[in-house]
Symmetry: C2
Subunit: 226 residues, 2 copies
Amino acid sequence: MTRSMSARDLSTFSGVSDDALDELASIARCHDYPKNNILFYQGDPPGSAYLVVEGSVKIALMNEEGKEVVLTLVRPGGVFGLIAGVDGEPQPANAITVERSRIAAFSADAFVGWLERHDLLQQVVLRELGHRVREAYHKIGEHALMGVKDRLLYALLEIAEREGQREPGSEAVVFTRPTHQELANRIGSSREVVSRVLKEILTSELLQAEGKVIRVPISALVVRED
Amino acid sequence: MTRSMSARDLSTFSGVSDDALDELASIARCHDYPKNNILFYQGDPPGSAYLVVEGSVKIALMNEEGKEVVLTLVRPGGVFGLIAGVDGEPQPANAITVERSRIAAFSADAFVGWLERHDLLQQVVLRELGHRVREAYHKIGEHALMGVKDRLLYALLEIAEREGQREPGSEAVVFTRPTHQELANRIGSSREVVSRVLKEILTSELLQAEGKVIRVPISALVVRED
DNA sequence: GACGCCTTGTGACAGTAGTCACACGAGAAT
DNA sequence: ATTCTCGTGTGACTACTGTCACAAGGCGTC
């Protein structure tokens, strides 16, 4: 793992001392993976905890026919595989790289040991799990209580929040949207439906698009808070 | 909080010493609530952590029209309100009694203090949150990847696992099912649809019913493991 | 430039699931 | 006993979603 990984401002490990991060780096095995590489399957025994150094990884479920739903997207600085690592149960979902990614892996024992040595269970793991629960609850609500159009809208707003760039000289945030298929996987729908509904949203709604770039007025973002 | 509450085999606190439980009891405010009593709303600031002593509480989301989806059902010995108590963010969902219930409440600070004093963060909170995440992920998968019939089937099997009684003299488990409306809320559907689909399941499928009592062969339960 | 692969747009269709309306039965309450 | 409420069963209808089929555009590789 290169020194660059221990970026001090990454969300999950913010507030962790440099010494601890250096020690963490020393127990990591770091590798590059191509796009769509499967890191582990749902049901696998807990082996390692993982840290995304570069790229991104989707945690997702699939059914027998190959239909997929993305539970969460882990971006640089985020960890995954934690739950199984912490409670010793099988992995609750599949982990797959979304793009070419650099991933650091730690043996579950070594990682938990590190957490305990530095008294970071609360700071790191609780925060992370709490966030996952919130995220998951929100997603359940979306699925059970809203239709495709609203789910898609929320997904777009969430992306805007997480990776949108402030557009120079305007009160809006821009980002290039993922493919229709990826959006469909995120919201648990199908490519064709996303194609149609997205058009509808972009014409009538509060978002505009130029090509694959979507503009979201900042006013639309703040409103969305739950 | 009566002494009876500190039952030593309750899942969430199994393995916790009697001394610690006694101390916990000493900081609790314990009250009885009628059916359908709202304990907190989604968005409320974190106030307390709660323990179900008797009865049960549903953690659920609602939309504007009053449609509801149950995220998890907390039974005696289970805790809720934890996430907000631990991370200081607003409550992620509503908490409502399902039946007449006795609930012990702890101020968030006092509860966290107790956990830390007895070094139980890992044992109690991590276990609980990990379980919640798994449960939630499973539910998302159900919603995104399965239809009403399968969701209902899973819901019934889950109930059978959690509160089914071994039927004397047969290889089956029995339980009295909740109302159609409650089932609909659990799976995010509607009363009428549950009424129809349930009939379908009970005639063709692996479950049988006599009145409101449902029989599930044990063989059907073990298979369902993920 | 030609080929192939990925992504997209769209019409037509099918099926699932949700809603509305209404009736019936069992129990609780008065 | 009468009345009310709650849970239930069912038919009819609607609408939202997903699927299939097919065409076309973009972009990189050889």
